[in-house]
Each structure stands twice: as C-alpha cells, then as structure tokens.
Symmetry: D2
Subunit: 283 residues, 4 copies
C-alpha cells in the first residue's frame, strides 16, 4: 500500500481552519488522498483528518511536524500525524473463548489488519497453542486472590512491548480504574450486547429473559465506568423464540467478532476521535 | 385469498398432542395449509398453530368448535379458532405525528393489511383530515386535567366499535393500569427505541446523548409496566456522529412504521402468542 | 432550517484544489458547515461538495457565482451552487400502485422531504384522489396506441412546471430515448429488484423462479439503457421458501419506498454526482 | 447435546400425512422436539422434518426404519432419518485464501459446528500448516494440464474418507460435470456475489464496474450449471464509491464466511431440502 501520512486534528471551531491547513499542505505540493471534517455544534469543536501521500511531500514526518506546529498552535489544536508504514502495536487480551482472537489473528495473518501484534495476554492457557502457531508470544497470567499484583504484571507486559492499543478480545475481567486511566483512549473492548441494553454480566441470558428479537454487540473504548465508554461500532443479529441462551451465545459470536474487527480497523486507521463520552468516526 | 381457519392452541407439553390434533383434522379430511409448533422447555408448555383450508372441511366454525372441544379439554388447552374471512377490528390511536397512521392506512387501503379499521382516536386534531379521507371516523378527544374521564371516553369508543385490537400508532399518552388490564393482550404499541435501551420519554435524545451507532424501534404489547410488555418485533437503522436528535427522529420514523406494520401483520394472522412476559411467533 | 449554499464541483484532479476553494471561502469569512471530497483514481477526477452558511457570507448567490467563476475556470471545473431555501421542483410519475407515491407525499407533507411537488402525472386515474387530497394537481394521461404523442404530452407538463427532478414512483412505462436524453441526470426510477439481478419485467416473479433468499430494490437515474443507469441506493429484505410472488410484491413495497425516499433525499440535498455510469454520494 | 433423530420426508401432497406420521411417532410414545412442514403449491409436493428425542423411543434407528417403511411407502415418500450423535463427514476444498477455511475450522474446534472434518483438499499448499495445526490431514493436489486426472485424484480422496458433504471454501476451480453429478446435493459452494448478479469470475470487479451499493455472497449447492445451483443462503454488505475492488474483496470476506457457515450449519442439521432448482429450509 502506498505510504500516507494521517493528520488528525481537533480544535475550537472557527472560520478558515480548512483553508489554513489545506493551504499549508498545498504550499509543499502535498497530495490529499482523503479529507474528512466534522463540527460538533453543541461544543463548537472542529475535527479534521487528512490522508496525505507521503511521496508528494518534499520532507518526512519530523520536518512536517516542525513546519505544522505554528499553525496548530495558532488554532489551539490537539493533533497528531502518523505514518501508515509504521505499524500500530496491538496487544490482545483474552480468556477462554477463541472466536475473537482467532478472527483477529487470521485477519492479521492474511494482511487484512494493518498492525503488529507483539503479544497476547490471557488469564487462561486455553488459547496458548493457537496464538503461538502464529509465532506470537503468549503470556498466561492467572488471576488469583491478589488482583492488584495481577494487573501490575499485565501492565508491565503492555509497557514492555510499548503497546499503543490494547484489545480486550472477550477478556472477562474488569480492569481496575488505574489501568483504565493509564491507557485511556487505548483500550478497546467488545461487549456482547447492544449497549446500553444488557450491560454487565451474562448479557445473552438477560436478552433471553427480556425476550428481545435482536441481539447485538458493541465495540467501545474502556473507561472506569463499566460498559459506559465511548462507542465505536455496534451491530445486531435476528433471533427468535426457539433460541436458548446458548444459541444466542453461538450466534452472537459472529456479531462480536465482526464488530470488534470493524472497530479496530477504524481505530488503526486513525479514524476514531474520542470527544467527551462519544466517538466521531472520520470516514 | 382462500378462506382458512386458524387454530391456535397452547397446553402443558406431553407426547401425542400433534398426533391427536392432526388426526382430528384428518378424520374430517381437513387440509392443513401451514402448521407450526413450539415447546417452551423452561415452562414445559406446548404451542401450535394450524391453518386449515375452510373448504376442505365438511362443516363450519361452530361445528368445528363443538367437535374439537373434547380434545382440547382432554389436553387442558387454551385455544381459539378464527376465520380468515372475518376481519379483525382494529382501532388506531394517535397523536400529532402522521407517519405510522398514514403508513397503516395506506397498507389497509391497498389491501396489504387484512383488517377493519372502524375508527381512529386521537388527543389532537392534526390527523383528522387524513383519516377522514379514507372514510374512517375520527374521534378527537383532548386530554385535559381529568385524565380519568378522558380514558373513560376512549374506552367507551373502543367498546362501541367492539375493537379486538388497539394500535398505539405513536399515541403519546401513558395508558392507566385499568385500561391496560381491560384490554390485556390486545393493545400494540410502537416504542421509538431498541428496548430495553431508552425506555420512557425522548428516546432519540437519550440515544444521541449516549452516542450509540444504531437506533431502533420496538413493537410490543402494552402492560401496566411502561415499555416492559412482551416484544413482538424490533429493528434498527445505522446512524453516525453527524446526526442530531432531529435527524434520528426523521430516520427513526422509517423503522417505527416498518416494525409496527410487521408486528401488526403477525398479530392479525394470529401468529403471536403471549407466554409469560415474552412472545412466541408461530411463522 | 438554516439557509445554506451547496457548492458542488468536479474537475481533473490536481494538488491544491481544496486549498484554493477553502481559501476563497475563508477570504469572505464564509463558514463551512460540511465538506466532502472524493478523487476517482481511475479517471483522475476530483469531486467536492461544500455546505456554506449563507448568513456567514457578505453577499448572495449572484455575487458568489461571479466571484467564484475565475477559480472554477482556472481549474476546469464543472460546478453549480444552490440555495437550500429555494426548493427543488419534483414531478412525480406513477401508475396504479400507491405505496411509493403515498410515502413520498406523506414525507413531503410532514416536512421530512424538502422540495416542491408541483404536479403528479399518471397513465391511470387510480391515485387521483390521493394526490388531490394533498392539494397537488393530478394529470391523467392514458397511454394509447400513439405513444409518441403521449410522451409529448408528458414532456409538456414537465416543462410547464419547470421540473428539476422527475421521479418515476412505480411508473410502469418505459421512457423513449429522447425523453431520457432530454432530462438526463434528472429522472430517478425505483426498480423492484437488486440490480443487476432481475432487470426488466416482473422481477419478483424472476426472483421466485430463481429461488433467491433476499429480494431488493434499486434507486437509479434513468438512461436510455433500461435498468442500466447510475445506481443511487439499494437495499434488500429477507424472504423464505414459503413466500409466493405476491408475498414478495407486498414485502418488496417496503424496500422500494424506503430506497426511493433515501435516494431522492440524497439527490435533493445535492449529494449525488453522476460520474460516467456510476454515482458518487458526497455525504 | 441430547440425542435426536431427524426424520426428513417429501412426497406428493395429500390430506392426512401429518396425522399418519405423528400418529406413528405417538404410538411409540416418541417425543417430537421440533416439527416443520411445507407444501409447495406449484408442484403439489409436501415436505416435513421432525426432530424426535432418541431416548423417548423404545428402539433404535434400524427398527425405526423398518417400522416406518410401510407408511413411507404408502405415501410415496422419499425420506431419510439421521442420528444427531453420528457426525456428518465434511471434506473441505480450498485454494489460497484462508478466511473461509480458518472460520470453519475455528467453529468446528470450538464445538459450534457439529461434524467431522476428515481432511482438506487444496490445489495450493498455502493453507497446509493452518489445517494441520488442527490435526486434520491436508492433501495438496496441484491442478496441471491433465485436469481429468486431477479430479480423479480428488474424487478418490473424497471416497476414501466417505465424505457426505463437500464444502468448496473458496476453491477456485470449476468442477467437471461428472464430479457434480456424482456428488449431487452434497457439494456446497460459496460464491462471492449476490447471485444471480455477477456469476462467474471476479465478481467484486464486476460489482465495482457496475457501481452497485451493496455487495453480497451466496451459498448454494453445486450443479453442472456454474453458479446456477439451488441457493441455501445469501447476505449483503453496504459499500460506497470510495471502495476499490480490493476493499470489496476484504469486506466481502466477512459476508462469505458468515453465509457459508450459516448454510453449512443448516445443511448439517438436515434442514435443507432440494426441490427442483430451489431449496426449502425447514427451520
């Protein structure tokens, strides 16, 4: 794939932002492959993402950053630029169920998910062989009485591999607040319900009890408030009265893995911006 | 359409029920057009719906009932049989918004919704002309201070027309418990969210605040517990961060009218059985 | 709704286009509400749509056009700008079936479809009363032996009302090539199949014969090649082996009216650009 | 899972079939877990599938067959009965792409797909390690000049393992007519388009050229007529003008693997009956 720079910006909305940024790119003869804007009218905040062909620019990322900094400053921007040829480092965390991990690894192995996966962490050993078949280190860290030391160990591994993204691929433990805070905006979870319906434990059993006609899954950033983080993507599948909770579990897996893969894909392309407690998807 | 009898039964599950019922039909040379069964394994309860070609039987509904009663009794059945050529009388209740009422009336007028609509009741006059254009009486009953007398008036009209089904087609009032109880299993509501998410008032605004990526609608039977009745059908539509609550309102209308029409259609064909706080759809 | 100008442009792709256009808008302190670009890499063609708040500009449409013309010329642009407060004039054409016409009229009447509907033309009188109830003139022009004179009459009415858009809302006649050519890019049709499957007559019967598990509908611009014009939107509905062609006809109506409404909505907001034999949807 | 017998029957329609069959089951005190019927009114043909709890019957499959044979004969039935505890032997055939094979193997390994997979056959070696990781023999049979001898070798392996089902999981070769005939009703293919649109080679490129707004996949039985066999299941995914054929290929994989898994699941439960050139899904 062609090398592109992804410039993602947000700032207080005012007139002329697009002109300034596009003028900056044009003056170096940069070629904009894709551009998306959004203004949140409630908070009066502006969001923009540009994909610029790397080869069209006369300089690399370091010089770009230096040259762009004054404009960003003048507009009170929060911004970052990333290089599509530098892969995001994604650590997967899982438990016993394989469907999400197997799906992500197959996408990664097939070249359909553009990232590095330096390691997988799990509180159970069930998926060790599957993960190692892909040549990826597998850390089995059982959760014991002392949860604090468990999460310290998890955090050490995440830091050791300099993970930029942590994917909870049906990892069934609740992360402690300090872990949520430390990796804020970097932890993606898949919850097996259509949030805000059926937050918490055993959502398919809750769905069965309520008698809904669709089940769903939600991919979201993790915050300290369980199942309350900014939603990236959601989807549903139709069910009927013949289905028992275990049928919903089986059917739901397809929705979970698809929604998680879509959300992660958007995240890795730098298309997801967290704003307050929601996401803006610049696609 | 060919005249059919719809025989709907439920009873404690045991072996041989299908044999007994189908043997009964076969002995009169009845032709079964469609048959559906379901056993709820939690409650050990059996459900069955048969469509029998009327012309294949040597007698009419009265004799059928007499002949079938002993079998039904021996199996402790709750059951009823209806004639597809006798139309269900459906009273619509609405408020100011027209999309659901207009959609139902157009389906009915086009011959796609098999029922009679003897009258429409509303607490606002906005849809009077639309309804009367179809030749249907429109009762404008404003809700004042004295809610009890309002609902007495509503109930009188429902009874006057011997309504078998009451459809709340975006009727924005909460029915009092005694009305819910009086017409239990006969009142169908469309709620403009994917229940149990966003029950109560202004669900699209709630959805906007939470930042979900899909909105939905739910067709359900009305019980005393607001938005907690047995669900008949649900569906969703995709939204994005650009949409304001008013965009969701506009998009949601399409889901509401479709889900209501589908649920009503199933109900009119006698396919929906309420069991405890859920529905079984015999299709 | 706030008054906006919709500036839609296409031109050979080169660097700096966005900068030039956004610089032009910024120099007059114009506020861009929404902006979308696309580059077709096969043909190396660039597309852009900007929504600009009218009140943010110091002049009206006439001055805007004069001021923008030199930039457009320098970039070899095809472009137009429209005012959201000047409604598009949409002539509906229909036949006997009411679902699409009734749906469009209800949306229009509810304020959900932003256009004028100066008249409806039909080769049958069936929908006359429905249309006239909305206060819209209805022209009943039967198709006889002399098709040429029929279409001359149709064309005269379209021209008399200065229609900018013609919607074939289940109008069952094939338009002659000269009519297609005269109103190129202005005629929107709804075809009751998932094109390119089942082009031509009786698509639901074709679908029944083939045994597909989904039926669909396609909203497209009309060209001289029947059912081959640029596709605006499509959708599907699930069917099963129990459904006869007439069940598909009934179910398909819901897909038809929804897809037509969505396509027309996009068209009226100036979001649909025809490029070669496809559409680009700038949303 | 509880052991059940699946009795699947078809015969000329007449009155009393359900009574005879259910009477037969009831006389041995058999417990019917699930029952589905269908009458094809065009051909006047009747279809029925019963799931009977094995433990409720006083005898096994052999005696059941002997006892049921006279009834079947009297009704001119085609029928078979299978034991849910005897797994169907499914041979997978693939080429280079891994998504369908990896998905099926993960489902099988997780216990979500109830079958044996005695071997995988491929004309390329790419997926050998993936398959062998699951402990399944992998046969690499390259296609050379002599196609006939290739397919003889394929057929020998299929026969050696006594395969009851052959799944073409993105196997990119066209099977010769004699292979299609030999395994008629046993070969399931996934085609990467919404048939009948885009049959044949490179359907995503065809879809890109046509400018459709949805892509799809079709799971069907293989017959001598390429992409014309009875359809089991289909689904679609939304695309837009920004997507190149390679994006459709990536997105389409999700639809392909889901539709193939659903179709295979139905087939393995004995729910799919081929009637003329269509399928009846008894669920």
């Amino acid at each position: 794939m062609e090398q592109v720079y992804r410039l993602v910006m947000s700032c207080p909305d005012k007139r002329g932002i697009v002109a300034k940024v596009s003028q900056f790119i044009a003056q170096y003869d940069g070629s904009i492959l894709e551009a998306n804007h959004h203004t949140d009218t409630q908070s009066n905040w502006f969001f923009m993402r540009n994909e610029i062909t790397a080869s069209s620019l006369p300089f690399g990322l370091t010089t770009f950053k230096e040259a762009f900094a004054p404009i960003a400053k003048s507009l009170d921007m929060q911004w970052h630029i990333s290089d599509s040829h530098v892969k995001n480092r994604v650590v997967l965390m899982c438990s016993k169920q394989s469907h999400c991990v197997a799906d992500i690894l197959n996408r990664w192995h097939s070249g359909d998910l553009d990232c590095d996966i330096p390691c997988v962490i799990s509180n159970h050993a069930d998926l060790k062989e599957l993960v190692e078949w892909y040549g990826i280190p597998f850390y089995h860290l059982p959760v014991g009485e002392d949860k604090a030391s468990h999460f310290n160990a998890v955090s050490e591994i995440i830091d050791k591999y300099e993970a930029q993204t942590i994917v909870l691929a049906r990892y069934m433990q609740i992360l402690p607040p300090q872990v949520c805070a430390k990796y804020a905006g970097k932890i993606i979870n898949i919850h097996h319900s259509f949030l805000p319906s059926f937050a918490g434990a055993k959502p398919y059993h809750q769905a069965f009890e309520r008698g809904v006609k669709l089940i769903g899954a939600t991919c979201h950033y993790v915050t300290e408030d369980l199942d309350e983080g900014p939603i990236i993507d959601q989807d549903v599948a139709r069910i009927n009265h013949r289905m028992q909770p275990e049928d919903m579990v089986r059917l739901g897996k397809d929705v979970e893995k698809l929604v998680l893969a879509r959300g992660l894909h958007m995240h890795l392309e730098g298309r997801v911006v967290i704003h307050q407690h929601k996401t803006i998807i610049l696609d």
